[in-house]
């Protein structure tokens, strides 16, 4: 009887710990080899054969295809620079410059990676359509209501994700710090 109860406990703990850890790892995106620049994170290795098992499992679960490294690098931001989650009810300013690349795009997604419907049918900007400052930098405002300049509609959703994708860029596995790859700052202003 003791043996039975003991092994029952053992298996129960094993299932809880094992599946719990898998679920936690995949929903929180614990892939290795991240480049972190400010609020932005990229995993250039996910676009190669050397993708780690956690990133593979996470991609298989969501059904997304990674950006191949010969194509570009994808940076993701879920938080602002002070570590607060991006809130679609607030004015969020994305300011600065991006690393060297032939083209780049910025896109706004809901947490599942789908687009957020809006009347302008605007999900993001390409590097060519942005209105620039005289110094070459840019200022994008992600907000629920229309804003002058580069307005990225959030639809007033609670949470969203920003992605900057650099195409034909020297940024890659060897990139280390923000000086090599300056990414824009993300600051959250007033909320509705």
């Amino acid at each position: 009887m003791r043996l039975f109860l003991g092994s029952l406990l053992c298996f129960f703990v094993a299932a809880a710990v094992g599946l719990g850890a898998t679920w936690f790892a995949l929903s929180n995106g614990t892939a290795f080899g991240a480049i972190t620049i400010g609020a932005w994170q990229a995993w250039p290795k996910t676009g190669t054969m050397e993708i780690d098992p956690y990133a593979r499992a996470a991609l298989a679960r969501t059904g997304a295809l990674p950006v191949g490294l010969g194509d570009g690098v994808s940076f993701i931001a879920k938080f602002d620079d002070s570590g607060r989650l991006l809130d679609g009810r607030c004015d969020v300013h994305i300011t600065g410059t991006t690393p060297q690349a032939r083209f780049w795009t910025i896109t706004l997604y809901d947490p599942d990676g789908q687009f957020i419907a809006n009347s302008l049918n605007r999900q993001g900007f390409t590097s060519q359509e942005l209105i620039r400052n005289p110094d070459g930098g840019f200022d994008i405002t992600a907000a629920p209501r229309a804003r002058p300049g580069n307005w990225l509609p959030t639809g007033g959703v609670e949470r969203y994700i920003l992605a900057i994708r650099l195409y034909d860029t020297p940024v890659g596995i060897a990139t280390r710090a923000g000086r090599e790859a300056p990414m824009p700052t993300i600051t959250q202003g007033s909320c509705q």
């Binding site: 599946l19 298989a60 059904g63 950006v67 083209f103």
Partner: protein, 178 residues
Amino acid sequence: MTRWLLWLIGGILLGGIVHLSTVLALPRTAAHDAYARLLPITPVNKVVPLPTSESAIMPFMDPAFATAVCRYDLSRGALKLTAPISQAYTAVSFYTRYGIAYYAINDRAAGRKVIELDLMTTRQRDQLPEEEDVTAADRLIVESPTQTGLIVLKALSPEPGLMPMAEKALAAAQCKPQ
């Protein structure tokens, strides 16, 4: 008491094994990975455009691109891929059946007006006559680690108004058996 503690430690250790094996097994068992999502809408060895709508087939697609997919099967032989480049930026990415990006090339790296390459398995490449391999110095050969997989072709539309141009460039792309 000690006995229960031992069972508990055993359970945690076994949990570690469960965790690692589920992470490793997931890519092979996932029912909604990119390949499975594309399976119903993509005929084999043919380039088909992907609709860019609000509820995309795959998450985290870049809306600035026109996208087309060739779901390939090399069991009958090698494939030839030709993709004319668009005015802005064109890239072709190769994925295995389980979504590993094993090769990607863009228009500048291809260096011509058309991205042209041969896709084959390692075995098919080994069977190539030797001279053919040598004479075709500018022939680009890509080796697929798996017999089936996905080729994703993307053409950038730098402004929303240029999307038809990007789609047109992709419409002329072909992937077919040699």
